[in-house]
Amino acid sequence: MTSQQSEDQDGSPPLPFGPLPSGRHRFSPEQVAHHQRERLIAGLAAVVAERGYAAATIGEIAAAAHVSRRVFYEHFQTKEECFLAAFDVVFEHLGDLLVAAVAAHPGDWPQQVVSGLRAALGFFAERPDLARLFFLESPSAGPALQRRATEVGLLLAPHLRAGREQSRMRDMPDSTEPSLFGAVGSRIRNEVALRGSEGLTALLPEMVEFVLIPYLGGEEARRYAAEAEEDQP
């Protein structure tokens, strides 16, 4: 029970992406990164959010990070490598949010799922720049990123797989969890691409229902979805 924390406590490590745009964030200005590498990652995120990955140049990324191009090459060999670092920071943060959600509801797997989905949707709703980077731009950043994105579902799968204990259907295929993450990711990408990230938190009830159905069946999944809807701010 060493790393347990309520989901409202600020126990997540800082994201090296500078101050957050809204007042509801969990990262204090003190947590803003100071290292060059982190500034470069933040610079990449800013330039990509504005111009897209394909149009972003290393010169612009270095300028946004207030470092020279030479410093960029001390840390990264290519734009793709810098993007991969930024992607992994977001990915690790997602993992931390899920770990915190699990810790906040010990022994209550469905609430862990609700809480994890709420935290992830809330995070991307507050950070449209990172939602764009993670969901819309990562496929453009080359084969390494495309493969990395497919690992997200595999690496996050254990959080969901715990739900198999609840299910009578113990012999679900191994791909169930990665596919659920893929479907959720595709739904989020759809929303971000067509309507922007602001409305992501409104997806919580449908996401809760969708993820819980294979484990709990439709009726119980809908009950949790309805509860999640009532708890929406």
Partner: protein, 226 residues
């Protein structure tokens, strides 16, 4: 090259129907060559590394001819995607129509089977539709999402008739499931394992049937596959 093809500017002066190669046939041929060249280049190099210069050279057309057909590289690529998406929809639709009298789970299985087979049979065009399309900017992503819905919803939605609480299912369920199936194929395509995609059929079927049928009926439908 047809030696009787009208010189540039000549066709415009020839009344329709009298030219040995009608102007719209020549234009259609150029359009087809541009699309084919773009498809080959994108499959080989990716969307962003495919330049307009490479396209016109490979298609053996001039820039003016290119711009008569398409506004820019994105426009060709979207036309290429639309054609492939329409062919996929037709292939999948035909597989479903051939089993119009069969129960819904069988029709879904036939649709997934046809889809996965067509991807495995031509992995390069499939990469264009499932991987490269997502790299080509917001218009392309919107086009992709629309195609997912256009193909997925008509196949999956009848499942609601089998679910007594269908009205309570989320309205976005079909597109979410379609996104999940596309993701299964995407994972294999970027890993260079297109040949393994047809073997995903049982798990993909289970994945899409479950929300409509529940576990018991889903298990029955999946075991009926073999």
């Amino acid at each position: 090259m047809n030696p009787l093809q009208p010189l540039p500017g000549h066709a415009e002066r020839t009344p329709p129907g009298e030219s040995p190669v009608p102007r719209d046939a020549a234009a259609a041929d150029r359009r087809r060559r541009i699309l084919a060249a773009t498809g080959e280049l994108v499959a080989k190099r990716g969307y962003h590394a495919t330049t307009l210069e490479l396209i016109v050279r490979r298609a053996r057309v001039g820039y003016p001819a290119f711009y008569k057909c398409f506004a820019d590289k994105e426009a060709v690529f979207l036309a290429l995607f639309d054609g492939a998406a329409a062919r996929t929809a037709a292939t999948v639709g035909a597989a479903v129509a051939a089993r119009a009298e069969r129960p819904w789970p069988e029709r879904v299985a036939a649709a997934l089977d046809a889809l996965f087979d067509s991807i495995a049979a031509s992995p390069l065009p499939a990469r264009t539709c499932l991987v490269e399309i997502l790299t080509a900017g917001p218009a392309a992503v919107a086009r992709y999402e629309a195609a997912l819905r256009a193909i997925g919803i008509p196949i999956l939605q009848p499942g609601r008739d089998l679910n007594p609480r269908a009205a309570e299912l989320s309205g976005a369920l079909e597109e979410t499931l379609a996104g999940g199936v596309a993701w299964m194929a995407y994972q294999r395509l970027v890993a260079g394992e297109a040949d393994r995609i047809p073997s995903l059929l049982p798990e993909a079927l289970e994945f899409v049937l479950m929300p409509y049928l529940g576990e018991e009926e889903t298990a029955r439908a999946v075991s009926a596959l073999s």
